[in-house]
């Protein structure tokens, strides 16, 4: 085997790969392609290697989500921090990739207006993109923005940020939906399902109100998240002051409200932020019974984890995980716990071993 031969095969493989994704691909092409794949293992592994690179390149979408226009940003000017941290962070000491120039995180109204115009113009692309996004499923970059009137939603496994015309920003977690209404006297957001993080621009004349099934969370200028599980409601405050119905919540407080009452915990800011790690596409579990961890994972995935055994459900797990990569989680469980997983199409059942 020589490098030259490898090069020739890679050249052929790239041709198959690109043409296969083009409009002119025919059944006859497919047959010839399969024949080529089967001709040698070298052909096949060369193709798979390029196919992986091609699939990976779709993840650039995660970075393209906020880039205005059709052109890629100049090399080195990716705003990685802006994508992952929806709040503004101080510039870190100037590595080439900390990319502190704020670019499109600036949310003056002009940018926001452009965003909406763009969203409208490319709504067709959003629709086409949606199916592919799910397939790519790394959770983070992967999002779908459904915009009908003032509704914003994410699919299972999605994560997206919605800039608002008043300078506020809403970050939606998996399987979430909000309805936004801005008037001259108030800013009213209805959390219809799921979980959202709100960064509220100060505007004393227009209170920022999050409605959840008859309960109200009111803020002036602050950062907080609201999560809804059926009728249960959880509010986590990371900056400023928030009012949940008649209860005042300050930084580090986590309030859980259910039909049978309200529980408020005061935690450190760092602990409260654990609740918000989803904004970076990470699920941080600390000494959590597996049954709870499984419920968390299931929010992010169509294929559900099922705990077949109460003993298994009581095991405590801890770690940082990508919530959409459920198979990786299952593999870790199998390697570190007395657990056997049976992976089925619709679900993954966890049994005691």
């Amino acid at each position: 085997m020589t490098t030259d031969r490898n090069n020739d095969i890679e050249e052929s493989a790239s041709g198959w790969l690109i043409r296969r994704d083009s409009d002119s691909w025919t059944d006859a092409d497919q047959a010839r392609f399969e024949e080529w794949l089967d001709a040698s293992t070298l052909n096949r592994i060369t193709f798979l290697r390029l196919e992986l690179a091609w699939e990976e390149s779709a993840r650039l979408k995660a970075l393209g989500a906020g880039v205005p226009g059709d052109r890629p940003p100049p090399p080195g000017e990716w705003n990685l921090t802006a994508f992952f941290y929806s709040h503004r962070r101080p510039a870190q000491d100037g590595g080439a990739h900390s990319v502190a120039n704020d670019g499109w995180t600036q949310q003056d109204s002009a940018d926001t207006a452009t965003f909406f115009r763009r969203a409208l113009r490319s709504s067709r692309h959003f629709a086409i993109a949606a199916g592919l996004f799910l397939a790519v499923a790394i959770g983070l970059g992967v999002y779908q923005l459904q915009r009908e009137g003032e509704h914003f939603a994410t699919p299972v496994g999605g994560l997206t940020s919605v800039p608002m015309i008043d300078g506020s920003q809403i970050t939606l977690n998996t399987d979430s939906q909000v309805r936004v209404r801005l008037t001259r006297t108030e800013r009213r957001i209805e959390l219809k399902r799921g979980e959202a993080f709100f960064e509220v621009a100060k505007d004393h004349d227009r209170p920022f109100i999050v409605d959840v099934d008859g309960r109200h969370v009111v803020a002036v200028g602050t950062k907080f998240s609201v999560r809804r599980d059926g009728n249960a409601l959880e509010v986590t405050v990371t900056e400023g002051v928030v009012k949940l119905d008649d209860t005042i919540l300050t930084v580090g407080m986590i309030a859980r409200s259910r039909e049978d009452g309200l529980l408020v915990q005061r935690k450190s800011l760092a602990e409260a932020e654990l609740n918000l790690s989803w904004r970076r596409g990470v699920l941080m579990l600390r000494e959590m019974p597996l049954s709870h961890a499984v419920a968390e994972f299931n929010r992010y995935n169509v294929r559900k984890l099922v705990v077949a055994d109460p003993e298994v459900g009581a095991l405590k797990v801890e770690g940082n995980f990508r919530p959409t990569n459920v198979l990786a989680f299952v593999r870790l469980l199998e390697s570190g716990f007395p657990i056997r997983a049976s992976v089925e199409d619709e679900q993954i059942v966890l049994n005691a071993r």
């Binding site: 059709d70 090399p75 983070l140």
Partner: protein, 210 residues
């Protein structure tokens, strides 16, 4: 070739995932550290790609029969045996160690302490590889993959022929695949830490608590 260590002990679980997608994730996903491993052992760097491809072929053919429990260890064991074979066959005098093949017994974990890379770090790496593409190639790939235009639409947008667009896409994909490998050969720059500095972004696996 000596028998492989017993890491290949049958089909794992009830995994019925197609072999090709399994292979991409469990084997090809380790390319960067595999190349780093080969480079450390094998002095003739121009042969690295050949060795890498040969290791892939052997692993692919072995996994047709049964998928290893520990794909990464199997991949590295395969690469190690393959290099030992070459040394015997070509009578290469070991350059780094004293005559025998001891240097081949590098512990995999030493080179690649199991480090789960966050999605964030992976994206940063992808962005860097993408930035190295030639300008036009980069723009074509962006329109095709991010803006999801068809090849024809990209051609119209850029005023180029569809054939040229296809050429750019082919080159771009090959380069993206190659940059991962070159990344392994370059001196290591701790490229993502600055992005992770103040967060507990490193994953650590589950720990059992009683």
């Amino acid at each position: 070739m000596k028998p492989l260590p017993p890491v290949c002990v049958g089909v794992s679980g009830s995994s019925l995932e197609p072999l090709d997608s399994w292979f991409k994730r469990e084997i090809l996903g380790h390319e960067e550290i595999l190349v780093r491993f080969i480079a450390r052992v094998w002095p003739r760097h121009h042969e690295i790609a050949d060795i890498r491809q040969e290791a892939y072929i052997r692993v692919y053919e072995a996994t047709r029969v049964a998928r290893p429990q520990s794909p990464k260890a199997f991949l590295f064991a395969t690469a190690r045996h393959l290099m030992a074979d070459r040394i015997r066959r070509e009578r290469i005098v070991s350059i780094r160690a004293g005559g025998d093949n001891e240097f081949l017994n590098v512990i995999v974990e030493e080179i690649s302490p199991e480090r789960r890379v966050s999605a964030h770090q992976e994206l940063a790496r992808l962005a860097r590889a993408f930035d190295r593409l030639p300008a036009q190639c980069r723009e074509v790939l962006w329109l095709r993959r991010v803006k999801e235009l068809s090849q024809r639409e990209v051609a119209e947008r850029m005023g180029l022929s569809e054939k040229t667009i296809e050429k750019h896409l082919r080159t771009g994909t090959r380069l993206l695949a190659r940059y991962t490998q070159e990344n392994a050969l370059e001196p290591r720059i701790n490229d993502t830490d600055e992005l992770e500095s103040d967060e507990t972004g490193r994953d650590h696996g589950p720990q059992q608590r009683h």
